[in-house]
């Protein structure tokens, strides 16, 4: 399907925030993060001691081949999975050591996630999907909701259901849902992986614009160097460890 006609489509990629505009204290600090999966052949290490940090408003691309551990890193930072060792400090809280319900709270109130497979709730309309996480967090802002709807070009689609949308449209809804609650950290796991190039570029551009407006940090996993180049920083994971930035 063609990329949608949305506002700011032709606008340049969001400018990288100036270092002097960002606070110095990292929002996210990952130290010596380790994770293995259990297989019939024994434990398979995926992350072997990863360190990184991210300041508010900063954008970081985590690059790597399939199976390198980039998605695993995002899942751990997003409190979606348990680490085997190490520390993940998000706004001063070590989420690696939190209980299940505390991690759910962190996901709800501090983190927004955009998945490769969109993961919209199929039985809710676009409007209901957009507002969902904000409602869960008790932070629905109708004005911000309206702004997101307009900026993402979803005004005409509010009463539709996910299966009635194209992939690009669905991903824009997913971005809107993640940002509606004004998270401190936005995670995107291969957000353009299921989209054609044009749609993918449009979605990323919109995401970066909105991230710059909200001032949240943005961490994206991707195997595409082209897309990674649009973010402020890049790191590469190879064999479970960072190869350098």
């Amino acid at each position: 399907m063609n990329a949608p006609s949305v506002r700011n489509e032709a606008a340049p990629v969001a400018a990288k925030p100036q270092a002097s505009e960002k606070p110095h204290t990292p929002l996210l600090r990952v130290t010596n993060l380790r994770k293995s999966y259990v297989t019939p052949q024994g434990p398979l290490p995926v992350l072997r001691g990863v360190d990184l940090s991210l300041r508010p408003g900063e954008t970081l691309a985590v690059m790597g081949e399939s199976g390198s551990g980039k998605s695993t890193l995002l899942h751990l930072v997003g409190a979606l999975d348990h680490a085997d060792g190490g520390e993940i400090l998000l706004d001063g809280v070590d989420i690696a050591g939190l209980s299940e319900s505390a991690r759910a709270t962190a996901r709800r109130e501090m983190i927004g996630v955009v998945f490769q497979q969109f993961n919209l709730i199929s039985s809710l309309t676009v409007e209901e999907n957009l507002a969902f996480q904000a409602r869960l967090a008790g932070r629905l802002d109708p004005q911000w909701q309206l702004t997101l709807t307009r900026r993402l070009g979803l005004e005409e689609l509010l009463s539709r259901y996910p299966e009635q949308l194209s992939g690009g449209q669905q991903q824009r809804v997913a971005v809107g849902r993640a940002l509606a609650a004004r998270p401190k950290l936005l995670l995107a796991d291969e957000p353009t992986g299921n989209l054609d190039e044009a749609s993918g570029d449009a979605v990323l551009a919109l995401s970066l614009e909105l991230v710059a407006e909200t001032g949240c940090a943005f961490l994206m996993a991707t195997h595409s160097a082209r897309l990674a180049a649009r973010l402020g920083r890049r790191v590469r994971i190879e064999a479970g460890a960072l190869a350098g930035s």
Partner: protein, 820 residues
């Protein structure tokens, strides 16, 4: 709280998009609740009536003194009162008013204990009129309505006795009229006879006090002793409950399938909710709230349905209970709040059991889906393996219960385990058959047909299992009823060999009629059917006195007994014993019985065992003269006549003209057979109704499962369509597959149903009622059930198949949608 609220909103939105699945779930839960609660309402109504009947004498925690041999002389009451015992006399018997049987109860209001349920009669303004003037009769408003009488009316019994004017009171049990004891003694023609003494709870009696005064003429019945009627009817109600539970199970399958499907369909949503920050606890709490709403809504609907089912079936059940046990059950449904609560609880239990697996999985649901997708084939094999193991365990459990236990519960458990095992085995059997067919198929479309069928099995398995259970029950219960009908008809022909049956008003009238009959050339034999009552082994037993006549040796079937059984019956102290009494007493041919009689014990030898189908009480057949010698209150008013063919109507007319009110009741053989058969048919009408409902429920299960799966089916059918098979052809193949599955279920239902017939006839019936029926099989019925199964499948499959045939190309193309 808001977390649970918005999560619940997201979960509920699923039903908005899948109304068919929601309808399945609500309808299934409502039907299951309706069938179960309807049966329980019938049982509760009957038990309330029994309790009400018993409470007349033992309500208020009162002891009673009764005789072992039926009625006893009034002098015993006088003796005990003079000795200082606070006892009050009572007499009860049956009478007919119009065409209704009623229980006539005689009491003495002045001596009634204060705690007695009827004691308030003394305080009413009618109290003075009970003993003076024209007296009073008391009955419930329902009884008055059933008799078509108003307050103040004077009902007339079949003997021509006019009872005092009626007054409505709420303490009276159903179908009973309460009068002064003197009036009852006259109305029942039992002068100076009593049936019990009610003991005041201010001075209870013990055996040591009673023995010197009454010897062994009276025994003490404590208030907590189970009512005889409740005990007699226990098996009837247990059978009804078992049937209701089976029907609930079929409905439960629908609910289970719906919840399972909803869980699978909502799994992506559940994962998304967890990923967005809904905790496992909040998600489970939201699902539980959803379950509660379903329970209240569908359960409430089910209770209304149950009430309507019970109200519709109650007249038949009441008629059966009266015909089988002489029990009087009110036909106006009056249920306690506890019935409503227990019905809701059952709905909740059913819903929780159905959804429990999903709730548990939700609690343990990892936020991230498993990295390695499980192919459908592997999931399918795991499913079939689990089914096979569970089926094997169920069948082993059936064998263990059969070997280790006995009785009614064992019978039901064996049948239940075998039904469950067979139902679990059905998908495995279908999958195996499809695999064989696939290997034999040569054409590619045929191979796809069978392979795709295997993929469809797990989605349809619960509906198929429900259909199997309903079909097997149809065959099983239908086979038992049909077999009973065959046996009963033949037995009835033998038992009712005489052409005319009558009851005289008094023994004097009976002798006059006998004298006249002996002079009639068309009357070839006059056969007394005298009656007395006693108790053996704690069970009520009727004794029937017979005269020596070739009618019995030629027609009266014996299950066991020598050629000279009838000779011995009249020449010696001998008895014939009914099959169910012999089982209860664990006795047999040649054994001796000590029969409590009026003032003595009559020792008699068992010379024959005979079938007595449909009789809950025990029965002994004896020589009528020996009966009169041992029992002083023998009812010597019942007779049958052998009449020349063609002369029956004339003889009956002449008897009516000549003897008028001296004959209380008279009926010919044909009419009596019809009445007996009506009781039989009425009894099994209830099971027939439940059978039909169950089949309907399973057809609904199939329809709703097919509707719910129809979207998933598109994804499986679309690739075949894309390579060049027309939609109408695909729809036809879909319908053919549904018919084949149903035919498979029907084929398995036949041996399962035959097993169920055997279980019911050989174990359940024998344990519940004491008689064993010969086993019959009816292949015609199997063919009927087979066709029913196909019809159910056709009706259920028509809508989803039509939808498939008419689906737009865009719907099928959407399966292939790809953004890359």
């Amino acid at each position: 709280m808001k977390q649970v609220f918005w999560t619940l909103a997201a979960l509920v939105s699923h039903w908005r998009r899948h109304p068919a699945n929601l309808a399945t779930l609500l309808v299934g839960l409502a039907i299951a609740t309706a069938l179960w609660s309807g049966v329980q309402a019938l049982n509760e109504q009957a038990r309330k009536s029994y309790d009400s009947a018993v409470a007349v004498f033992s309500g208020g925690n009162l002891q009673n003194l009764v005789a072992s041999g039926g009625l006893f002389p009034q002098e015993l009451f006088v003796t005990l009162r003079r000795a200082g015992l606070k006892v009050s006399p009572a007499l009860e018997g049956s009478a007919r008013v119009g065409d209704k049987n009623i229980r006539l109860i005689g009491i003495e209001p002045l001596t009634l204990p204060r705690a007695s349920m009827l004691a308030p009669l003394r305080e009413t303004k009618e109290a003075t009129k009970i003993l003076t003037g024209e007296g009073r009769s008391f009955a419930s408003a329902q009884t008055l309505s059933d008799l078509g009488l108003l307050e103040g009316a004077r009902p007339k019994t079949e003997r021509g006795f006019v009872l005092p004017p009626l007054v409505a009171i709420k303490q009276a049990p159903p179908s009973a009229i309460i009068v002064d004891i003197g009036v009852a003694q006259k109305a029942l023609d039992k002068p100076e006879r009593l049936s019990r003494l009610i003991v005041s709870n201010e001075a209870p009696v013990d055996a040591a006090t009673l023995a010197p005064l009454a010897g062994d003429a009276l025994r003490i019945v404590e208030p907590e002793d189970e009512s005889e009627l409740a005990r007699l009817t226990d098996s009837f109600h247990l059978n009804l409950t078992a049937f209701g539970f089976l029907a609930f199970l079929v409905g439960f399958f629908i609910v289970h399938a719906s919840f399972g499907l909803a869980f699978e369909q909502r799994l992506p949503t559940l994962r998304t909710l967890r990923a967005l920050g809904v905790s496992a606890g909040a998600l489970t709490a939201a699902l539980f709230c959803e379950l509660l709403v379903f329970t209240f809504f569908a359960g409430g609907l089910g209770l209304v349905g149950g009430y309507l089912i019970a109200a519709a079936l109650l007249p038949n059940v009441a008629g059966s209970l009266e015909g089988l046990y002489g029990a009087q059950v009110s036909v106006r449904l009056a249920l306690d709040p506890s019935w409503w609560l227990s019905g809701l609880a059952m709905a909740g239990a059913g819903a929780l059991l159905s959804a429990g697996g999903g709730l548990a999985r939700t609690l343990r649901l990892p936020v991230l889906s498993v990295a390695r997708p499980i192919a459908w084939r592997e999931a399918h094999h795991r499913y079939l393996r689990r089914q096979a193991v569970l089926a094997a365990l169920s069948l082993v459990a059936a064998a263990l219960v059969f070997c280790a236990a006995d009785g009614l519960t064992m019978g039901f458990l064996v049948i239940a385990f075998v039904l469950l095992g067979a139902a679990l085995l059905l998908p495995v059997a279908l999958a195996a058959a499809l695999r064989v067919a696939e290997s034999l198929a040569r054409r590619p479309l045929a191979r796809w047909f069978f392979a795709d069928g295997r993929q469809e099995i797990s989605g349809l398995s619960l509906a198929m299992m429900a259909l199997l259970l309903a079909l097997a029950t149809n065959i099983g219960v239908g086979g038992m009823v049909e077999g009973f009908r065959h046996t009963f008809a033949g037995w009835l022909n033998d038992r009712l060999a005489a052409e005319i049956y009558y009851e005289a008003a008094t023994p004097t009238d009976a002798r006059d009629i006998e004298t006249w009959a002996r002079k009639q050339p068309d009357i070839t034999a006059i056969l007394p059917i005298w009656r007395a009552r006693t108790r053996l082994g704690g069970w009520p037993v009727d004794l029937i006195g017979m005269a020596p006549h070739e009618t019995y040796s030629q027609h009266f079937t014996l299950l066991e007994g020598g050629a000279d059984a009838f000779r011995a019956l009249h020449d010696e102290d001998a008895v014939l014993i009914s099959e169910q009494l012999a089982r209860r007493l664990k006795t047999g041919l040649g054994a001796t019985l000590d029969i409590p009689a009026s003032g003595d014990n009559w020792r008699a030898r068992i010379v024959g065992i005979y079938p007595d189908y449909g009789n809950a009480k025990g029965q002994l057949r004896v020589d009528h003269e020996r009966l009169a010698r041992h029992f002083t209150d023998v009812s010597g008013v019942n007779y049958s006549l052998r009449v020349a063919p063609g002369a029956v109507a004339r003889v009956m007319e002449e008897m009516r003209t000549r003897f008028g009110p001296a004959i209380v009741r008279m009926i010919d053989q044909g009419e009596l057979k019809k009445l007996s058969t009506d009781v039989f048919e009425r009894t099994f009408m209830v099971t027939a109704a439940l059978n039909t409902l169950m089949l309907g429920v399973s057809a609904i299960a199939l329809l709703t499962s097919l509707l719910a799966l129809s979207n998933l089916r598109l994804a499986q059918v679309a690739p075949v369509w894309a390579v060049g098979v027309a939609r109408w052809r695909l729809a036809g193949l879909e319908l053919l597959r549904i018919l084949l599955f149903s035919a498979g279920a029907a084929l398995l239902a036949i041996p399962l149903g035959v097993f169920m017939t055997w279980g019911l006839v050989d174990i359940v019936n024998v344990a519940a009622f004491g008689w064993r029926l010969p086993m019959h099989v009816f292949p015609g019925q199997w063919a009927q059930v087979f066709l029913l199964a196909l019809a159910a499948a056709l009706i259920a499959g028509l809508m989803p198949v039509t939808r498939l045939a008419r689906s737009a190309p865009a719907d099928l193309l959407r399966v292939f949608a790809n953004e890359r």
